[in-house]
Protein backbone atom coordinates (compact mmCIF):
# COMPACT_ATOMS: atom_id res chain seq x y z
CA UNK A 1 0.00 0.00 0.00
CA UNK A 2 2.96 2.34 0.49
CA UNK A 3 3.56 2.38 -3.29
CA UNK A 4 0.54 3.88 -4.99
CA UNK A 5 -1.15 1.69 -7.61
CA UNK A 6 -1.39 4.03 -10.54
CA UNK A 7 -2.23 2.95 -14.08
CA UNK A 8 0.68 3.85 -16.39
CA UNK A 9 -1.62 5.59 -18.89
CA UNK A 10 -2.99 7.84 -16.15
CA UNK A 11 0.34 8.76 -14.64
CA UNK A 12 1.23 11.63 -17.01
CA UNK A 13 -2.29 13.03 -16.73
CA UNK A 14 -2.35 13.03 -12.94
CA UNK A 15 1.13 14.55 -12.90
CA UNK A 16 -0.44 17.71 -14.37
CA UNK A 17 -2.62 18.24 -11.29
CA UNK A 18 -0.87 20.33 -8.69
CA UNK A 19 -1.47 20.97 -5.01
CA UNK A 20 -3.53 24.19 -4.94
CA UNK A 21 -1.59 25.53 -1.97
CA UNK A 22 1.85 24.51 -3.21
CA UNK A 23 1.52 24.88 -6.99
CA UNK A 24 5.05 23.61 -7.76
CA UNK A 25 4.19 20.21 -6.36
CA UNK A 26 2.08 17.72 -8.28
CA UNK A 27 -0.33 15.63 -6.27
CA UNK A 28 1.70 12.56 -7.25
CA UNK A 29 4.90 14.00 -5.80
CA UNK A 30 2.91 14.95 -2.71
CA UNK A 31 1.83 11.33 -2.23
CA UNK A 32 -1.84 12.29 -2.03
CA UNK A 33 -2.94 9.91 -4.82
CA UNK A 34 -2.96 6.37 -3.47
CA UNK A 35 -4.46 4.59 -6.45
CA UNK A 36 -5.82 5.28 -9.93
CA UNK A 37 -7.21 2.45 -12.03
CA UNK A 38 -9.54 2.23 -14.99
CA UNK A 39 -12.53 0.05 -14.12
CA UNK A 40 -15.17 -0.48 -16.82
CA UNK A 41 -14.04 2.66 -18.64
CA UNK A 42 -14.24 4.87 -15.55
CA UNK A 43 -11.20 6.02 -13.63
CA UNK A 44 -11.34 5.32 -9.91
CA UNK A 45 -9.00 7.62 -8.05
CA UNK A 46 -8.23 7.11 -4.37
CA UNK A 47 -6.84 10.13 -2.53
CA UNK A 48 -5.88 10.70 1.10
CA UNK A 49 -5.73 14.03 2.96
CA UNK A 50 -2.46 15.37 4.32
CA UNK A 51 -4.30 16.80 7.35
CA UNK A 52 -7.89 15.96 8.40
CA UNK A 53 -9.02 19.53 7.92
CA UNK A 54 -7.04 20.19 4.75
CA UNK A 55 -9.29 22.55 2.77
CA UNK A 56 -7.44 21.66 -0.44
CA UNK A 57 -8.95 18.18 -0.70
CA UNK A 58 -12.21 19.22 -2.36
CA UNK A 59 -10.29 21.32 -4.88
CA UNK A 60 -7.86 18.48 -5.54
CA UNK A 61 -10.76 16.10 -6.19
CA UNK A 62 -12.37 18.57 -8.61
CA UNK A 63 -9.06 19.26 -10.36
CA UNK A 64 -8.44 15.54 -10.86
CA UNK A 65 -11.89 15.07 -12.38
CA UNK A 66 -11.47 18.11 -14.63
CA UNK A 67 -8.02 17.10 -15.87
CA UNK A 68 -9.08 13.53 -16.55
CA UNK A 69 -12.19 14.78 -18.37
CA UNK A 70 -9.99 16.92 -20.64
CA UNK A 71 -8.13 13.74 -21.47
CA UNK A 72 -11.28 11.81 -22.22
CA UNK A 73 -11.87 10.01 -18.95
CA UNK A 74 -14.76 10.12 -16.50
CA UNK A 75 -13.62 9.69 -12.93
CA UNK A 76 -14.85 8.97 -9.44
CA UNK A 77 -12.92 10.15 -6.40
CA UNK A 78 -12.71 8.21 -3.19
CA UNK A 79 -11.26 9.75 -0.05
CA UNK A 80 -9.58 7.36 2.39
CA UNK A 81 -8.03 8.04 5.80
CA UNK A 82 -6.15 4.79 6.21
CA UNK A 83 -3.24 4.29 6.02
CA UNK A 84 -2.72 7.84 7.19
CA UNK A 85 -0.62 10.09 4.97
CA UNK A 86 2.95 10.65 6.04
CA UNK A 87 5.60 13.09 4.84
CA UNK A 88 7.61 9.99 3.83
CA UNK A 89 5.32 9.79 0.81
CA UNK A 90 6.60 13.08 -0.59
CA UNK A 91 8.95 11.96 -3.37
CA UNK A 92 12.59 13.04 -3.75
CA UNK A 93 11.58 15.17 -6.71
CA UNK A 94 8.83 16.66 -4.55
CA UNK A 95 11.28 17.55 -1.79
CA UNK A 96 13.54 19.28 -4.29
CA UNK A 97 10.56 21.20 -5.69
CA UNK A 98 9.61 22.33 -2.19
CA UNK A 99 13.10 23.58 -1.48
CA UNK A 100 13.31 25.44 -4.81
CA UNK A 101 9.95 27.01 -4.04
CA UNK A 102 11.26 28.34 -0.71
CA UNK A 103 9.77 25.75 1.65
CA UNK A 104 12.17 23.69 3.76
CA UNK A 105 11.28 20.00 3.26
CA UNK A 106 10.45 17.79 6.28
CA UNK A 107 13.23 16.26 8.38
CA UNK A 108 13.04 12.91 10.16
CA UNK A 109 10.67 12.56 13.13
CA UNK A 110 13.28 12.89 15.88
CA UNK A 111 15.00 15.84 14.21
CA UNK A 112 11.60 17.45 13.72
CA UNK A 113 10.89 17.22 17.43
CA UNK A 114 14.28 18.73 18.24
CA UNK A 115 13.76 21.72 15.99
CA UNK A 116 10.19 22.34 17.07
CA UNK A 117 11.20 22.24 20.72
CA UNK A 118 14.06 24.55 19.90
CA UNK A 119 16.80 22.26 21.19
CA UNK A 120 18.66 21.86 17.87
CA UNK A 121 19.16 23.84 14.72
CA UNK A 122 18.73 21.47 11.81
CA UNK A 123 16.38 23.13 9.35
CA UNK A 124 18.25 24.65 6.42
CA UNK A 125 17.22 28.04 5.09
CA UNK A 126 15.83 27.53 1.55
CA UNK A 127 17.34 30.89 0.52
CA UNK A 128 20.95 30.76 1.76
CA UNK A 129 21.31 27.17 3.03
CA UNK A 130 22.37 28.16 6.54
CA UNK A 131 21.11 25.98 9.38
CA UNK A 132 21.35 28.91 11.77
CA UNK A 133 17.58 29.15 11.78
CA UNK A 134 14.94 29.58 14.47
CA UNK A 135 11.32 28.58 14.75
CA UNK A 136 8.99 31.56 14.98
CA UNK A 137 5.81 29.52 15.36
CA UNK A 138 4.88 25.82 15.35
CA UNK A 139 2.01 26.62 13.02
CA UNK A 140 2.53 28.39 9.70
CA UNK A 141 0.55 29.52 6.69
CA UNK A 142 -1.12 26.12 6.24
CA UNK A 143 -1.80 23.19 8.58
CA UNK A 144 1.22 21.28 7.27
CA UNK A 145 3.85 23.95 7.89
CA UNK A 146 5.73 25.64 10.74
CA UNK A 147 7.07 29.17 10.46
CA UNK A 148 10.84 29.73 10.61
CA UNK A 149 13.35 32.50 10.18
CA UNK A 150 16.97 32.37 9.07
CA UNK A 151 19.29 34.14 11.51
CA UNK A 152 21.96 34.65 8.87
CA UNK A 153 20.11 36.05 5.87
CA UNK A 154 17.10 36.99 8.07
CA UNK A 155 14.57 35.68 5.53
CA UNK A 156 11.41 34.18 7.01
CA UNK A 157 10.34 30.84 5.49
CA UNK A 158 8.00 27.87 5.91
CA UNK A 159 9.15 24.49 7.12
CA UNK A 160 7.11 21.47 6.06
CA UNK A 161 6.49 19.61 9.34
CA UNK A 162 7.33 15.95 9.55
CA UNK A 163 4.20 13.83 9.85
CA UNK A 164 4.56 10.14 10.61
Amino acid sequence: MMTPQIDKKLHPILAQVSDPEIPVLSILEMGVVRAAQIVNGIVEVVITPTYSGCPAMDVIGDDIKKTLKENGYDATIKLVLSPAWTTDWITEKGRKALLDYGIAPPLEAEADKDVLLGSKKLVGCPQCGSTNTKMVSQFGSTACKAFFQCEDCLEPFDYFKCLK
Binding site: L81, S82, V136, Q138, K161, L163
Partner: protein, 251 residues
Amino acid sequence: MKNENLYKYILGVADNSLILGQRIGELCGHGPSLETDIACTNVSLDLFGQVRSYFQYAAEIAGEGKTEDDIAFLRREREYKNVLLVEQPNTNFAYTIVRQFLFDVYHLLFLQELQNSTDETLVAIAKKSIKEVSYHERFSTDWVKRLGDGSEVSRQKIQEAINNLWTYTDELFHQTDADKAMVAAGIGVDVTLLKEKYYETVNTGLEIATIATPESKWFQKGGKVGVHTEHLGFMLSDMQYMQRTYPNMEW
Protein backbone atom coordinates in the same frame (compact mmCIF):
# COMPACT_ATOMS: atom_id res chain seq x y z
CA MET B 1 -31.74 3.23 14.77
CA LYS B 2 -29.53 0.19 14.51
CA ASN B 3 -26.26 0.74 16.37
CA GLU B 4 -27.72 3.55 18.43
CA ASN B 5 -25.04 3.23 21.08
CA LEU B 6 -22.30 3.56 18.49
CA TYR B 7 -24.00 6.66 17.10
CA LYS B 8 -24.20 8.21 20.55
CA TYR B 9 -20.64 7.23 21.32
CA ILE B 10 -19.26 8.88 18.18
CA LEU B 11 -21.19 12.07 18.87
CA GLY B 12 -19.87 12.17 22.42
CA VAL B 13 -16.31 11.90 21.16
CA ALA B 14 -16.73 14.30 18.24
CA ASP B 15 -18.67 16.98 20.13
CA ASN B 16 -15.61 17.66 22.29
CA SER B 17 -13.59 18.47 19.18
CA LEU B 18 -16.40 20.40 17.51
CA ILE B 19 -17.04 22.70 20.46
CA LEU B 20 -13.37 23.20 21.23
CA GLY B 21 -12.70 23.83 17.53
CA GLN B 22 -15.40 26.50 17.50
CA ARG B 23 -14.08 28.07 20.71
CA ILE B 24 -10.48 28.26 19.67
CA GLY B 25 -11.59 29.37 16.21
CA GLU B 26 -13.02 32.49 17.87
CA LEU B 27 -9.42 33.64 18.14
CA CYS B 28 -9.31 34.02 14.35
CA GLY B 29 -8.33 37.63 13.83
CA HIS B 30 -8.26 38.20 17.60
CA GLY B 31 -5.15 36.29 18.72
CA PRO B 32 -2.65 38.11 20.91
CA SER B 33 -0.08 37.95 18.11
CA LEU B 34 -0.19 36.94 14.45
CA GLU B 35 1.66 33.67 15.15
CA THR B 36 -0.60 32.55 18.00
CA ASP B 37 -3.65 33.64 16.00
CA ILE B 38 -2.60 31.42 13.10
CA ALA B 39 -1.69 28.57 15.45
CA CYS B 40 -5.09 28.65 17.14
CA THR B 41 -6.97 28.65 13.84
CA ASN B 42 -4.77 25.79 12.60
CA VAL B 43 -5.68 23.76 15.68
CA SER B 44 -9.31 24.63 15.07
CA LEU B 45 -9.04 23.49 11.44
CA ASP B 46 -7.50 20.16 12.47
CA LEU B 47 -10.29 19.59 14.99
CA PHE B 48 -13.00 20.41 12.45
CA GLY B 49 -11.39 18.05 9.96
CA GLN B 50 -11.48 15.26 12.53
CA VAL B 51 -15.07 16.11 13.43
CA ARG B 52 -16.11 15.82 9.78
CA SER B 53 -14.73 12.28 9.64
CA TYR B 54 -16.62 11.34 12.82
CA PHE B 55 -19.86 13.01 11.73
CA GLN B 56 -19.75 11.48 8.24
CA TYR B 57 -19.49 8.10 9.90
CA ALA B 58 -22.28 8.93 12.36
CA ALA B 59 -24.52 10.15 9.53
CA GLU B 60 -23.93 6.88 7.71
CA ILE B 61 -25.01 4.96 10.83
CA ALA B 62 -28.06 7.18 11.33
CA GLY B 63 -29.18 6.71 7.72
CA GLU B 64 -32.45 8.37 6.62
CA GLY B 65 -30.54 10.90 4.55
CA LYS B 66 -28.90 12.54 7.55
CA THR B 67 -25.74 14.50 6.74
CA GLU B 68 -22.70 15.65 8.69
CA ASP B 69 -24.07 19.21 8.55
CA ASP B 70 -27.37 18.17 10.14
CA ILE B 71 -25.46 16.70 13.04
CA ALA B 72 -23.20 19.72 13.43
CA PHE B 73 -25.75 22.48 13.01
CA LEU B 74 -29.25 21.22 13.67
CA ARG B 75 -29.13 19.92 17.22
CA ARG B 76 -30.28 21.77 20.30
CA GLU B 77 -28.07 22.64 23.23
CA ARG B 78 -29.04 19.59 25.30
CA GLU B 79 -28.27 17.26 22.43
CA TYR B 80 -24.58 18.21 22.45
CA LYS B 81 -22.62 15.81 24.63
CA ASN B 82 -19.27 17.58 24.93
CA VAL B 83 -17.56 17.93 28.30
CA LEU B 84 -18.00 21.29 30.05
CA LEU B 85 -14.29 22.06 29.80
CA VAL B 86 -14.27 22.67 26.05
CA GLU B 87 -17.17 25.14 26.04
CA GLN B 88 -15.57 27.48 28.57
CA PRO B 89 -15.01 30.96 27.11
CA ASN B 90 -11.79 32.64 25.97
CA THR B 91 -11.73 34.89 29.03
CA ASN B 92 -8.13 35.78 28.19
CA PHE B 93 -5.26 34.01 26.44
CA ALA B 94 -4.34 32.17 29.66
CA TYR B 95 -7.78 30.55 29.72
CA THR B 96 -7.54 29.69 26.03
CA ILE B 97 -4.17 28.01 26.37
CA VAL B 98 -4.90 26.26 29.70
CA ARG B 99 -8.22 24.91 28.38
CA GLN B 100 -6.35 23.65 25.32
CA PHE B 101 -3.60 22.09 27.43
CA LEU B 102 -6.09 20.34 29.74
CA PHE B 103 -7.90 18.91 26.74
CA ASP B 104 -4.89 18.08 24.53
CA VAL B 105 -3.27 15.88 27.18
CA TYR B 106 -6.52 13.95 27.44
CA HIS B 107 -7.12 13.91 23.69
CA LEU B 108 -3.73 12.39 22.94
CA LEU B 109 -4.14 9.64 25.56
CA PHE B 110 -7.62 8.98 24.25
CA LEU B 111 -6.56 8.66 20.61
CA GLN B 112 -3.67 6.38 21.52
CA GLU B 113 -6.24 3.97 22.96
CA LEU B 114 -8.80 4.46 20.20
CA GLN B 115 -6.23 3.03 17.80
CA ASN B 116 -6.93 -0.35 19.44
CA SER B 117 -10.67 -0.21 18.79
CA THR B 118 -12.32 -3.08 16.93
CA ASP B 119 -14.07 -0.52 14.71
CA GLU B 120 -12.00 0.05 11.57
CA THR B 121 -13.33 3.52 10.79
CA LEU B 122 -12.61 4.79 14.30
CA VAL B 123 -9.12 3.32 14.10
CA ALA B 124 -8.49 5.14 10.81
CA ILE B 125 -9.71 8.44 12.27
CA ALA B 126 -7.60 7.91 15.41
CA LYS B 127 -4.44 7.13 13.45
CA LYS B 128 -4.95 10.22 11.31
CA SER B 129 -5.85 12.54 14.20
CA ILE B 130 -3.10 11.47 16.55
CA LYS B 131 -0.43 12.99 14.33
CA GLU B 132 -2.21 16.34 14.41
CA VAL B 133 -3.03 16.27 18.10
CA SER B 134 0.62 15.59 18.99
CA TYR B 135 1.37 19.03 17.56
CA HIS B 136 -1.53 20.58 19.49
CA GLU B 137 -0.28 19.14 22.75
CA ARG B 138 3.24 20.36 22.10
CA PHE B 139 1.94 23.84 21.30
CA SER B 140 -0.32 24.22 24.35
CA THR B 141 2.15 22.61 26.78
CA ASP B 142 4.86 24.90 25.49
CA TRP B 143 2.76 28.00 26.10
CA VAL B 144 1.70 26.90 29.59
CA LYS B 145 5.38 26.55 30.46
CA ARG B 146 6.35 29.79 28.77
CA LEU B 147 3.66 31.88 30.44
CA GLY B 148 3.67 30.01 33.75
CA ASP B 149 7.41 30.40 34.11
CA GLY B 150 7.27 33.86 32.52
CA SER B 151 6.62 37.25 34.07
CA GLU B 152 4.78 37.89 37.35
CA VAL B 153 1.66 38.85 35.43
CA SER B 154 1.64 35.91 32.99
CA ARG B 155 2.29 33.51 35.85
CA GLN B 156 -0.57 34.88 37.90
CA LYS B 157 -2.91 34.64 34.89
CA ILE B 158 -2.02 31.03 34.13
CA GLN B 159 -2.46 30.12 37.78
CA GLU B 160 -5.85 31.77 37.84
CA ALA B 161 -6.94 29.94 34.67
CA ILE B 162 -5.79 26.59 36.08
CA ASN B 163 -7.57 27.26 39.36
CA ASN B 164 -10.81 28.05 37.58
CA LEU B 165 -10.73 25.35 34.90
CA TRP B 166 -9.54 22.55 37.17
CA THR B 167 -13.07 21.80 38.28
CA TYR B 168 -13.92 20.65 34.73
CA THR B 169 -11.15 18.06 34.39
CA ASP B 170 -12.73 15.11 36.19
CA GLU B 171 -15.63 14.95 33.74
CA LEU B 172 -13.24 13.86 30.99
CA PHE B 173 -13.23 10.45 32.69
CA HIS B 174 -16.98 10.04 33.10
CA GLN B 175 -18.88 7.49 31.05
CA THR B 176 -22.43 7.48 29.74
CA ASP B 177 -24.37 4.24 29.29
CA ALA B 178 -23.56 4.32 25.58
CA ASP B 179 -19.85 4.74 26.42
CA LYS B 180 -19.95 1.73 28.72
CA ALA B 181 -21.74 -0.37 26.11
CA MET B 182 -19.11 0.55 23.53
CA VAL B 183 -16.24 -0.24 25.91
CA ALA B 184 -17.82 -3.64 26.56
CA ALA B 185 -18.07 -4.20 22.80
CA GLY B 186 -14.36 -3.47 22.35
CA ILE B 187 -15.15 -0.36 20.27
CA GLY B 188 -14.91 2.44 22.81
CA VAL B 189 -12.06 3.59 25.02
CA ASP B 190 -12.31 2.97 28.75
CA VAL B 191 -11.50 6.54 29.78
CA THR B 192 -11.43 5.68 33.48
CA LEU B 193 -8.11 3.94 32.80
CA LEU B 194 -6.58 7.15 31.41
CA LYS B 195 -7.13 9.22 34.53
CA GLU B 196 -3.96 8.42 36.42
CA LYS B 197 -1.68 9.01 33.44
CA TYR B 198 -3.59 12.20 32.63
CA TYR B 199 -3.07 13.86 36.00
CA GLU B 200 0.53 12.69 36.05
CA THR B 201 1.22 14.35 32.66
CA VAL B 202 -0.68 17.52 33.56
CA ASN B 203 1.07 17.82 36.93
CA THR B 204 4.49 17.38 35.33
CA GLY B 205 3.70 20.16 32.87
CA LEU B 206 2.48 22.45 35.64
CA GLU B 207 5.52 21.74 37.74
CA ILE B 208 7.86 22.79 34.93
CA ALA B 209 5.68 25.86 34.47
CA THR B 210 6.14 26.59 38.22
CA ILE B 211 2.35 26.54 38.58
CA ALA B 212 0.71 25.00 41.65
CA THR B 213 -1.69 22.13 41.06
CA PRO B 214 -5.08 23.06 42.56
CA GLU B 215 -6.02 21.06 45.60
CA SER B 216 -9.76 21.27 45.15
CA LYS B 217 -11.41 17.90 44.76
CA TRP B 218 -14.84 19.25 43.89
CA PHE B 219 -15.62 18.77 40.25
CA GLN B 220 -18.31 20.02 37.86
CA LYS B 221 -20.10 17.65 35.55
CA GLY B 222 -23.09 17.55 33.23
CA GLY B 223 -21.88 18.11 29.66
CA LYS B 224 -21.77 14.42 28.85
CA VAL B 225 -25.47 14.12 29.60
CA GLY B 226 -26.34 17.39 27.88
CA VAL B 227 -26.55 19.68 30.91
CA HIS B 228 -24.25 22.53 29.97
CA THR B 229 -22.90 25.74 31.43
CA GLU B 230 -24.55 28.94 30.20
CA HIS B 231 -21.71 29.51 27.73
CA LEU B 232 -22.70 26.81 25.24
CA GLY B 233 -26.04 28.31 24.25
CA PHE B 234 -24.46 31.61 23.24
CA MET B 235 -21.81 29.82 21.24
CA LEU B 236 -24.34 27.67 19.42
CA SER B 237 -26.48 30.65 18.49
CA ASP B 238 -23.39 32.05 16.78
CA MET B 239 -22.32 28.75 15.24
CA GLN B 240 -25.76 27.80 13.96
CA TYR B 241 -26.77 31.26 12.78
CA MET B 242 -26.51 30.59 9.04
CA GLN B 243 -28.36 27.25 9.11
CA ARG B 244 -31.11 28.65 11.32
CA THR B 245 -31.54 31.82 9.29
CA TYR B 246 -31.29 30.23 5.84
CA PRO B 247 -32.43 26.63 6.37
CA ASN B 248 -30.74 24.08 4.10
CA MET B 249 -28.31 26.62 2.69
CA GLU B 250 -25.16 25.18 1.12
CA TRP B 251 -21.75 26.70 0.53
